[in-house]
Symmetry: C2
Subunit: 335 residues, 2 copies
């Protein structure tokens, strides 16, 4: 890996196997990034603990699931370093250090954290690790000296928080020991769940997993939310909020054909079944090789473990070196 | 070191050389503890950063000073493991883990933290690391599986916080992977500063350092606060709040003689000069061998560094093993 390639950090909390929302939102981009970036892919098990301390089994049992998803879609462990967060001590060391450079009230003001606290109904019982996770995320990013981090548009404040910490560390050290980071917000927005809800999530029961069987795919497309007022084929139908069209936008590579279908649907005379058959064909074609590769790999979990182990060893060297760089630049005692 | 000895953790923030208040409050006890306990002595540089992120040089430049003080008073590196907090990654790893098992509001309710936040005039700008330091302290204690921690009486809530975390970890793991800890509050209370203020502190300019020269000692005793209304030798004097008597209580081993002097002082007819001469003699005798040993050691800082390095290596093995124990007991993913 050449040091001249830009460094990108990305990853997933290991709270469940990945779904097609992950595919369009991030996985597909990572296949591009690994060609011309030095890409690190973090299996974020310790971050997942910040709101799953009461369900650690969920977090640990999904490490291999997420790694399988990565490999099945085509993440190449030679080009991309897949590594496990809980086995990189420098991430914890940098996190603890950075917590001294951010105030409690600044963390509480972070819009992403405020929204996520609301969504989780923590009330007054916010785990301290959850409030502090922007500092931990800054540690993750900077430990790899990443300059590019892909994030959802709701997460841009976390990157701003990272850069504030970077600037404070560099100012305190009087040297630019850490680079600032640029958030890359994917063109493709968040894919809705098959029931039309804004968020696709396994726990909400509205997700289509990458590991889905042909029957799962078929059933999911059948259930898919369209326009509830589009009762007869000849009626005009609504495209906005129609999940089938959202998915065609995301997965159908023939954009012109999709635009024509939208026009026809709006005008009336195009049935949901025609659209769903088209979408199902596309999803079956997309997921067939992924499912096949995933099943193949799942028979050799020793290989998947080795990929994680080797990637984590490589990442440990890099992140340990960064912690040393930062400690030395700040003037901590050396032995 | 036999594993049957009780394990004790203690230490000091590396924010300045130690003074005679540390001697009576903790150092003297440590000389006892090292004979029949497995004693770990933490040079707490990362904890010192929680309120000194703007003055890291102070923290790092005092690591060797505190270690010199330890060795000069007779801490034996064969019996006591002297180790450096910032070089023990498991302490950060356990801290980050424990932050998921304590809520923000619980940290904010901690009486010690509330008082210390007030004392430091942080206002709304509390560094997150400062609010979180009870979890970090729980990490320090449990990483060594210590069951005994000497603390000032104002710090007992921190030990209660540690035990709450221990119980939550053990309950989550369904096994007692960590022992609960007992706070030992030293019989000798806090030594006042030479000006009579409740706290002796180098930064308040009212401390007598262990490294003080004979002239420093002499000058300090001369300045020492007595009874401002005790103007003539024959007047009755006040013993309470009289620093010379506080110090005689702490350092004069002839307790009966001290009680007689107190009676005479209360009655009238005993001058401050007589008392101060007595105290000065005792302090000169106490500090002479410490100063001599400190000067001797300060000519061989390589040895002092080696003591810290060897102790830290030993402590790293122990604390890493604890992090593995805790991770495995909680069911985190293993590679």
């Amino acid at each position: 890996m050449s040091q001249t390639k830009p460094i990108i950090l990305t990853g997933d909390r290991t709270t469940g196997p990945l779904h097609i929302g992950h595919y369009v939102g991030s996985l597909k981009n990572r296949l591009q990034f690994q060609e011309d970036h030095e890409q690190y892919l973090l299996l974020a098990d310790t971050q997942a603990l910040t709101d799953n301390a009461d369900n650690i089994t969920k977090v640990s049992s999904n490490v291999l699931e997420v790694a399988l998803d990565y490999l099945a879609v085509g993440v190449d462990p030679v080009k991309t370093t897949i590594c496990l967060q809980s086995h990189l001590p420098a991430l914890a060391e940098l996190s603890m250090l950075y917590l001294n450079f951010v105030t409690v009230s600044r963390l509480e003001r972070n819009p992403t954290i405020r929204e996520e606290i609301r969504a989780r109904n923590f009330g007054r019982d916010i785990p301290a690790g959850f409030l502090c996770y922007p500092a931990a995320q800054a540690a993750d990013i900077t430990a790899f000296k990443a300059t590019i981090v892909p994030v959802g548009d709701d997460q841009a404040p976390l990157i701003e928080q990272t850069n504030e910490i970077v600037r404070r560390i560099n100012a305190t050290a009087s040297v630019d020991v850490l680079p600032e980071v640029t958030a890359v917000i994917p063109k493709m927005g968040r894919l809705p769940g098959i029931n039309g809800k804004a968020k696709m999530s396994k726990s909400l029961g509205n997700a289509l997993l990458l590991s889905s069987s042909p029957e799962d795919i078929s059933a999911a497309v059948k259930q898919m939310y369209t326009d509830p007022n589009h009762l007869r084929v000849e009626d005009p139908g609504q495209v906005e909020g129609n999940v089938v069209f959202s998915y065609l936008d995301a997965f159908d590579e023939d954009h012109q054909a999709v635009e024509e279908l939208k026009a026809q649907y709006r005008h009336g005379g195009l049935g949901d079944m025609v659209l769903k058959r088209r979408l199902e064909g596309i999803l079956q074609d997309l997921l067939r090789p992924i499912r096949k590769q995933r099943m193949h790999l799942s028979k050799d979990l020793g290989y998947v473990r080795d990929v994680i182990k080797e990637g984590t060893d490589r990442a440990r060297n890099i992140t340990d070196a960064t912690y040393r760089d930062v400690s030395n630049a700040l003037g901590l005692f050396r032995i």
